[in-house]
């Protein structure tokens, strides 16, 4: 039978045209065309207007906070996520399965609920906040509060990327290291860590990308002071409420550009990891 279209291999299965057509139509209507509106709207401003709108001191301060706090949160999550994954894979303790299930809580808990819960806990009169207050540490209504919220939001990512890799590691390589006289710490640093790095970086990137755009959990705990504790998504909303659509969209375009770059990096990384592990990537 002749192969009618050169961009698709022949298959006896039905429904390709319908399925792909619907996929592309739905994707275009819901995602691509509306997203393109941001770039078209920004074009109204012209390059100079765009540059002026996205580099105001208030906008710059909001990027610094959003990206800075997201980075700190992602680093914390990388360190403690590795530890959590390690403990869940290697050790047994009572209630382990329950703890394992709870790691995904930030995926399931609505962000507004997370926001008011974290505020209640870390406010100066809260359960944890009232211990920190006498030490001179203020969490809620400061940039530190933003870090706490973004850490919560990104918590599951590193655990869930590292866990399967740890589970798949062969015991033999650790035994070999021990036989060759390596201490436990040396085995961890020189044998295990090199195998875990790709998963750690992927988890870090996912947690960072999620945290950068986060809004719901942050606005309750942040205090939202311009220049100090105002995140970039909040600045977009503020500009929208002032009917400054072009200004809001310009900041959105900056965030979109950075998010897309991150997405491409993550997809590239996962593709590379898939190849390294010899899994099917097609």
């Amino acid at each position: 039978m002749p192969n009618t279209c050169s961009w698709k291999s022949y298959s006896v299965l039905p429904g390709f045209g319908l399925a792909l057509g619907f996929t592309i139509l739905y994707l275009s209507l819901i995602v691509l065309i509306p997203l393109s509106a941001t770039f078209i709207k920004t074009a109204e401003l012209g390059w100079d207007g765009f540059w002026a709108a996205v580099t105001t001191p208030r906008a710059l301060a909001s990027y610094r906070l959003s990206f800075g706090a997201a980075a700190i949160g992602a680093v914390l999550n990388t360190v403690f996520g590795l530890l959590t994954a390690w403990v869940l894979v290697r050790y047994t303790f009572p209630g382990k399965r329950l703890v394992d299930a709870f790691v995904d809580l930030p995926f399931a808990l609505p962000t507004a609920v997370a926001g008011i819960a974290l505020t209640a806990v870390y406010a100066p009169n809260g359960w944890i906040g009232h211990w920190l207050e006498p030490q001179g540490i203020k969490v809620a209504f400061t940039p530190l509060g933003v870090v706490v919220a973004l850490t919560f939001i990104g918590l599951p990512f590193v655990v869930r990327t590292v866990q399967p890799v740890l589970e798949d590691l062969e015991a033999e390589i650790e035994e070999a290291a021990a036989c060759l006289g390596a201490t436990r710490w040396q085995t961890f640093a020189r044998v295990l860590m090199p195998a875990l790095w790709p998963a750690l970086i992927t988890g870090f990137a996912l947690a960072f990308a999620r945290a950068v755009g986060e809004y719901g959990s942050v606005i309750f705990i942040a205090g939202n002071m311009p220049m100090i504790s105002e995140i970039a998504p909040l600045l977009i909303i503020t500009k929208l409420e002032q009917y400054d659509y072009a200004g809001a969209t310009a900041i959105a375009v900056v965030m979109l550009a950075i998010s897309f770059a991150l997405l491409l990096a993550i997809n590239g990384l996962q593709w590379w990891l898939g190849r390294r592990h010899g899994r099917r990537t097609a």
Binding site: T23, V31, K41, V99, V113, A117, F152, A171, E174
Partner: protein, 299 residues
């Protein structure tokens, strides 16, 4: 070989593995640090939601749900989920069928585009629909001429919810259907099954747990979405408030007991989601083990 290990469990944990284990005190120290970390960020805040909700007693707690604004918020949240989840379910099945069962050029690009909504801030997800359907947007004047409201109305909320939950089902199904290959469907077609019979009787039963998993996650996000919905809702009480937005309004009015009561409902939903998710994970791993056992019995 495997029989020997199961009859003598001691053999598996005997002397040979001690060189690759940490001392007991290190183990317990690491477990304690990990649990303290999770307590700080997960357990304590979750407990706080229910404690704050019940602070003023059960009577106040129940009363907060009989408030008409709360009831209409619950209804709108359910409505948005009831439309968004099936829409993304149909899309997920179509996308997975095209991507997993056929080879074509540009597949990687399509996969990346499907992931896009996860990379977009929820606030931007709301903003794009304001730019398209808002008063000053592309269709703004046309819509107002025909007296159709999308932004600051229910359709906008549904659209924003569909956007933020867009990839969930597709992302679960695509890798699963890729791993299962196309042999079973080809056999069905060769034996004369119609297109829909192949889909309903062969493909979907094979991926039912992955499908359920995607739907559970999709639903949790649809009911809990805040940022995107907040931009397009207009916060009209009793009209365009979803439950998460209702929580915000009550909280900003310093009505903490009612805010946490509504939040506790959403937190319970999250707990149900986690329980269902664990159940599906347990079920799939059980089926996986069973299939391996079956395989090793046959050979």
């Amino acid at each position: 070989m495997s029989a020997i290990v199961t009859h003598h469990p001691v053999a598996a944990t005997g002397k040979s593995s001690r060189a690759t284990q940490e001392p007991v005190w290190v183990r317990w120290a690491l477990i304690s640090i990990a649990l303290a970390w999770l307590a700080l960020f997960l357990f304590v805040p979750l407990a706080a939601v229910f404690t704050e909700a019940l602070r003023k007693g059960l009577a106040v707690y129940w009363a907060s749900f009989t408030d008409p604004d709360a009831l209409s918020a619950i209804k709108l949240t359910l409505l948005a989920a009831v439309i968004a989840v099936p829409a993304n379910l149909v899309f997920g099945i179509a996308a997975a069928w095209a991507i997993a069962k056929f080879e074509f050029r540009g597949k990687q690009v399509l996969l990346t585009l499907i992931d896009l909504p996860f990379a977009v801030s929820p606030v931007i997800a709301g903003l794009i629909y304001v730019l398209v359907f808002g008063a000053q947007g592309w269709f703004g004047s046309w819509l107002s001429e025909h007296e159709v409201k999308v932004i600051f109305a229910v359709p906008g909320i549904v659209l924003a919810t569909i956007f933020v939950t867009f990839p969930f089902v597709a992302r679960e199904l695509i890798p699963l259907m890729q791993a299962q290959g196309t042999e079973e469907e080809e056999a069905a077609v060769a034996m004369g099954a119609s297109d829909w019979q192949t889909l309903w009787r062969v493909t979907l039963p094979n991926v039912k747990w992955g499908l359920l998993y995607g739907v559970i996650l999709c639903n949790a996000r649809a009911m809990g979405e805040f940022g995107a919905v907040s931009v397009v809702s207009g916060h009209i009480r009793g009209m365009t408030n979803t439950l998460p937005l209702h929580v915000e309004i009550l909280y900003n009015e310093y009505n903490f007991a009612a805010a946490f009561a509504a939040a506790s409902l959403l937190a319970s939903l999250a707990l149900v989601t986690l329980a269902l998710k664990s159940f599906v994970e347990w079920k799939t791993s059980a089926e996986y083990r069973a299939s391996i056992e079956e395989y090793s019995n046959e050979h």
